[in-house]
Amino acid sequence: MTQSKYATDYSAAEQMVVSAARQIEGNDVVYVGVGLPMQAGVLAKNLHAPNSTIVIENGIVRASIFPIPRATDNLHSQSYAEQLSGLFYVMCLAQAGYINTGFLGAGQIDRYGNCNDTAVGDYRNPIHRWQGSGGGNDVMSFCGRTIIILEQTKRRFLEKVDFNTCPGYLDGKPGRREEIGLPPNTGPAVVITDLATYCFEDGEMTLKTVHTGCGVTLEKVKAEISWDVKVADDITDTEPPTEEELNVYHEKIEAVLRSYGPRPGAAPPSAQAQGNPR
């Protein structure tokens, strides 16, 4: 990343994917879901993390590079993988602690990193329904560090989620995850939005960097959070994308996705809206 100078003209979406991709390093074993998580994984493989292993829910484990698929499973993400099996195998790798990094989207997130991909309002009589956990709960339950990528609005960033689909640090008390039976040394580690990035300090979401390069201010960030968010002592500007990162993003992600045309397949056109995870 130091070999290329920073870009000056880029979107918040590009910042999100680039920031997410940078979370993948060295020999990381990374679970990626549909959308921005998949983009981050493919970008990292093409940039600074060629030795990382990408794991895709439907049974794909691959060390070799691959073109970004339209969703997660297609003939491109399957073909020439090092291993194909099924969801059970992949989730056992995770449950046994062998997937150190997970990427998720989310409908809502709260102060302690709990995510809601299920229902807005009461579960029995919801104001809005998302599609549900998919593999999201499993990833957040199992992975060493989970990185959540979502658009930031006040309605999505709540003191407490309406429904806890993917467990963060629960009520924030130390050791709560282990107490209820989740594996030790797991949980959300980073949140990346179109405005900022966050880490977790003592289980609480903590503002770490602001996308000032996209014109975002601290005030704007705080305005889109429902609680009085904790701010890191060393809060700083988000590191912008480099020109190299953007070039690779345009070539390997944007152009390839565009070449697929309108998405056919498993769900109606609107199904992937609202930053829904899988």
Partner: protein, 298 residues
């Protein structure tokens, strides 16, 4: 024992109203032809277990009492399918798990056990609303552990690349929850791109996902997963799911694919007639990779 039959017979003889049905082919090689035949026969009051497999038609036609699911569109604002089912007062109950939860419930069925332990789901609110997921004290100490209750489908349907007449079925590419789901099922229908000589199976027996003695019916159905991709065969077809967008498009689709044709082959023939002889050639794989043969023998 030769188990080859037609899709019509395979469905009518093995699936009945009220059954618990497993549909394989999560995201890869869905049993599309079989699902359309179920709709054509209007087999209703089904409970379906399917992971990212297309259940839109079954919901829209009001054939489902319940869907055991990890991820599905339930928001009527975003789905004509949901609106249609609701208007008929036939919206199924959605019983929600994580994806691994679905796999585990099927795995328990495959193993012949009443449940499977897991560390998933217990950190969420899912167990509050789903009595088939709960926490117990781990029997060898170490605190709490989750458990998920078994699914034992009455009927399982899987579409594969190759199968012999006895039902020894082989699928490759991603397997989603195919292995545990089909093995958990009591009665099994295999739909296959191609029926092959038993020798093909016997020279690669490690690839058999279910042995013939477990299988009730074998149906040769080329393009049986269309418009979903199938490894070694074809990539995704054009976006027919746009057909689920509104009543008009839906009705046209149902006429074309279900009620206006006697079977899947007639639908395929009509697609060709309408879109050109090369319609299917365009989605056939273009850059095939052949596996290195493995050697067995003595």
């Amino acid at each position: 024992m030769n188990k080859i039959t037609t899709m019509k017979e395979a469905i009518s003889k093995n699936l009945k109203s009220g059954d618990l049905l497993f549909l394989g082919g999560a995201q890869h090689g869905a049993p599309s032809a079989a699902v359309h035949e179920i709709v054509r026969q209007k087999i209703d009051h089904l409970t379906v277990i399917a992971l990212l497999s297309n259940t839109n038609l079954l919901i829209a036609e009001g054939l489902l009492d319940k869907l055991l699911t990890g991820f599905t569109v339930m928001e009527e604002k975003r789905s004509y399918v949901i609106r249609r089912a609701k208007a008929m007062n036939k919206l199924p109950i959605f019983e929600e798990y994580s994806h691994f939860g679905i796999a585990l419930a099927l795995f328990a069925g495959y193993m012949g056990l009443p449940f499977m332990p897991t560390k998933s789901q217990i950190g969420s609110d899912m167990p509050v609303y789903n009595e088939n997921i709960k926490s117990i004290e781990s029997p060898f100490g170490g605190g709490q552990i989750g458990v998920v209750k078994a699914f034992v489908p009455d009927v399982g349907i899987l579409h594969v690349q190759r199968c012999d007449a006895e039902g020894n079925a082989q699928k490759w590419g991603t397997l989603g929850v195919d292995h545990e789901g089909i093995n958990a099922s009591k009665k099994i229908i295999i739909s296959t791109e191609k029926i092959v000589d038993s020798g093909v199976i016997q020279r690669d027996p490690n690839r058999t996902i279910i042995p013939g003695f477990r299988v009730s019916a074998v149906v040769e159905q080329p393009w049986g997963a269309y418009p979903v991709h199938l490894a070694g065969c074809y990539t995704d077809g054009p976006n027919v799911f746009g057909a689920m967008a509104n009543e008009e498009a839906y009705d046209i689709y149902m006429q074309e694919a279900v009620y206006g044709v006697k079977d899947w082959n007639e639908y395929l023939a009509n697609l060709k007639a309408k879109n050109g002889e090369d319609f299917f050639d365009k989605i056939k794989i273009q850059n095939p990779a052949m596996s290195e043969p493995v050697i067995t023998g003595y």
